[in-house]
């Protein structure tokens, strides 16, 4: 049982090459089908995300150079010169392939350390392969474990907890003040890309009310249609300021859009319920004096950038803990794998011995025609019992061995002793 991985990612290949080697879901299915029908792999899974394309596979037992065959397949599938492709590919086998996948699922291999999307992408790739029937016991186990690793790393470490984008940092700040965003409302000023990003995050976190205002009403309406927000007249801004618990502003304007007086009135109207102001504009959209108002929390772009910078550093600090979880899970997988192999080796030994016993009896009892069929079967039974007692029962106990290294050594020893082929246990 061998596991082979070939692939490329943002560290090994430029974006032009990554684009050419990426798989659409359709292509991924087709590739998986072809890899199996051509006998290159017996189990296979294609993982293709924005920053990586990887082929995972378990080759058939007799395949000589499966990694080479996979590389050649990848080059022909995407019509790329193998020489160009090969210089960007990495190849991993067995334990290292498992570790690589677990690191990917944990977000340790991502461009943005600990990002959350990758786990969903791994899950989706696995689902597609599973529906297609392209995976088998080994890859199923491996990918289920990878999903478990991704989940554990995100719950047991802080690697993905703190925001590393300005938009998300603003939303996380809101949660530090309001707790759950359900029952709270936000007003977005400016219909640019940042505004939209913030709105998506807010919606994902369950905000109850979302309004948007923009100088050009048309653009506000487009954005509102995409995000399910309400549109507010730019001219009537003053009148709605008492409504939101959070205002996110990214408007290009030489003068502050929200003056201290406007906010003072708004705070009085909402009888000082907390208000979070996230000012993403340069120059700033909120008059700095507003920070002194009671229960107003004002954050500008520099504050948020500082949070992002700190959090990137603190994510780095979490890597050793994530690696420890991965190591633990790789060992768990190896245990499982060794258990399966031990079972297969013991079965092979049993088959070999039964076969030898039959040949032996046939040769030796040929001169004893007086033996009845009952006697012959009785002798066969006695020999089976002897074999079980002196050898097979002990070999059987291999499966339960707790020490992984000893288990693997014992499996190897049995293989050598009975000259079992490496690929044909």
């Amino acid at each position: 049982m061998e596991i082979v991985l070939i692939g490329l990612n943002h560290r090994t290949a430029p974006v032009e090459l990554r684009e050419r080697v990426s798989f659409t879901p359709d292509q991924a299915q087709r590739a998986a089908e072809q890899l199996r029908s051509r006998g290159i792999l017996s189990e296979t899974l294609v993982l293709s995300t924005c920053n990586r394309s990887e082929l995972y596979g378990v080759p058939p037992e007799s395949a000589p150079d499966s990694a080479g065959a996979m590389e050649l397949f990848l080059a022909t599938f995407h019509q790329i010169d193998p020489a160009i492709l090969n210089s960007s590919l990495y190849r991993r086998r067995d334990q290292e392939a498992v570790r690589h996948l677990f690191r990917v699922a944990a977000g340790l291999d991502s461009m943005l350390l600990g990002e959350a999307e990758i786990l969903g992408q791994v899950r989706e790739a696995y689902r597609i392969a599973l529906d297609l029937g392209a995976t088998g016991p080994v890859l199923n186990r491996m990918f289920q474990n990878a999903l478990e690793v991704g989940k554990r790393v995100r719950t047991e470490t802080d690697i993905g907890k703190r925001p590393v984008s300005v938009a998300f940092a603003g939303v996380k700040l809101a949660e530090r003040i309001f707790g759950s965003l359900r029952g709270h409302s936000a007003l977005i000023l400016g219909a640019g890309a940042t505004g939209e990003q913030v709105m998506e995050h807010l919606r994902d976190r369950g905000i109850s009310g979302l309004r948007v205002a923009n100088r050009s009403r048309e653009r506000a309406r487009e954005l509102a249609a995409r995000t399910g927000a309400e549109v507010v007249d730019w001219e009537a801004l003053d009148a709605v300021l008492e409504w939101p618990d959070m205002i996110v502003s990214s408007v290009s304007s030489p003068e502050p859009v929200l003056s201290r007086q406007m906010l003072e009135r708004a705070m009085a109207a909402r009888s000082n319920r907390s208000l979070l102001l996230v000012d993403l504009g340069v120059p700033r959209n909120v008059a700095p004096g507003a920070a002194d108002l009671y229960n107003v929390y004002l954050y500008d772009l520099d504050h948020l950038a500082e949070i992002v910078e700190q959090n990137k550093k603190s994510r780095q600090d979490e890597v050793p803990r994530a690696e420890a979880i991965i190591q633990e899970q790789v060992e768990k997988f190896q245990h499982w794998q060794a258990g399966v192999e031990a079972g297969a080796v013991v079965d092979a030994v049993r088959a070999r011995l039964v076969n030898d016993r039959e040949t032996f009896l046939r040769e030796r009892l040929a001169d004893w025609p007086q033996l009845s069929p009952q006697d012959r079967s009785r002798m066969a039974q006695l020999m089976d019992e002897l074999l079980s007692r002196v050898l097979l029962d002990r070999a059987e106990s291999l499966k339960g061995e707790r020490d992984l290294r000893r288990k693997l050594q014992n499996v190897e020893a049995l293989r050598d002793l009975f000259r079992l082929d490496r690929d044909q246990p």
Binding site: T155, E156, T157, D158, K161, R162, K172, L173, E175, R176, I177, F178, G179, A268, S271, N272, R273, S274, A291, Y294, N295, Y297, Y299, H303, E306, I307, Q310, S314
Partner: protein, 269 residues
């Protein structure tokens, strides 16, 4: 020192370790373990209380130290209730040290001889327990309000170190503090009512003008004021939390100066 008290202290210390670990690493298993240790500590603590009051159906209120032992028990019980109700474990690391300190103080003095009848009885024990529960709940709201003020300061001044991301959100802290005060008010009211019933049975009068009675009424008023101001007026937020901290000074005054020097028969509770 009683073995039960030592076992209680060990449980609380383990809980403190768990909560601190949870705060530092946000591992849920540590938080859960801490909660279990608080539960175990509460059982041990209850046994210690029964032992201290001579295994009678009573509470140890005959001296300051017994009353502190009771206070520590009710404080951790109230905390556990609040933790379960609000599903929020991240303040445990700050409550448990307070519990442990009070537990340690309760061991600092000798056990006094029990009060002679007609002073004893379940009605008096319940009166005292409910009042001490009220004080414990106020102590908890004090801790929560202090955390609120710290968290608020950090957020307003953009000092976003680790703590900000680990403590509960401001509104959650406020809600927890308010529910704690609500528990305190209800039990203090009920406790006072029982006290009035008890004193009228023994002495035939409802009001003796004892300074403790006056200060307890004051405590009721200031905490009711906190609930009202923090809910309906522009005082919500940091000002309300500061008020809650100040209110607790009144409780401390009542529990210390009034008990020990001013009151005639409210000596230790």
């Amino acid at each position: 020192m009683s073995l039960l008290v030592i076992a209680t202290a060990l449980c609380y210390a383990a809980a403190l370790g768990g909560y601190a670990g949870f705060l530092a690493t946000s591992r849920r298993s540590l938080g859960r373990a801490a909660t279990l240790f608080v539960g175990g500590g509460l059982v041990m603590h209850c046994l210690a209380l029964m032992e201290r009051s001579g295994w009678g159906k009573s509470m140890p209120y005959d001296d300051l130290y017994g009353s502190l032992l009771l206070f520590a028990w009710l404080l951790s019980a109230t905390y556990l209730g609040l933790e379960v109700f609000h599903r929020e474990r991240s303040v445990g690391a700050l409550v448990m040290p307070v519990v442990l300190i009070i537990l340690a103080l309760s061991q600092a003095g000798p056990v006094a001889a029990p009060m002679p009848p007609p002073g004893r009885g379940p009605l008096l024990a319940l009166h005292i327990t409910l009042n001490v529960l009220g004080y414990a709940a106020f102590a908890l709201s004090f801790v929560l309000s202090v955390i609120y003020l710290i968290q608020n300061r950090l957020l307003r001044h953009h000092r976003l170190r680790t703590l900000v991301w680990r403590f509960p959100a401001l509104e959650m802290l406020e809600r927890m503090s308010r529910s704690s005060v609500a528990v305190g008010l209800v039990s203090l009211l009920a406790g006072m009512a029982l006290g009035v019933v008890w004193v009228s049975r023994i002495y035939g009068t409802y009001w003796s003008g004892d300074p403790k009675e006056i200060i307890t009424l004051l405590v009721l008023v200031v905490y009711a004021g906190y609930l009202w101001l923090g809910r309906t007026t522009a005082w919500r937020g940091a000002r309300a939390s500061a008020l809650c901290v100040v209110n607790f000074l009144v409780v401390l005054f009542s529990y210390s100066v009034v008990n020990l020097y001013l009151s005639d028969f409210h000596r230790f509770f």
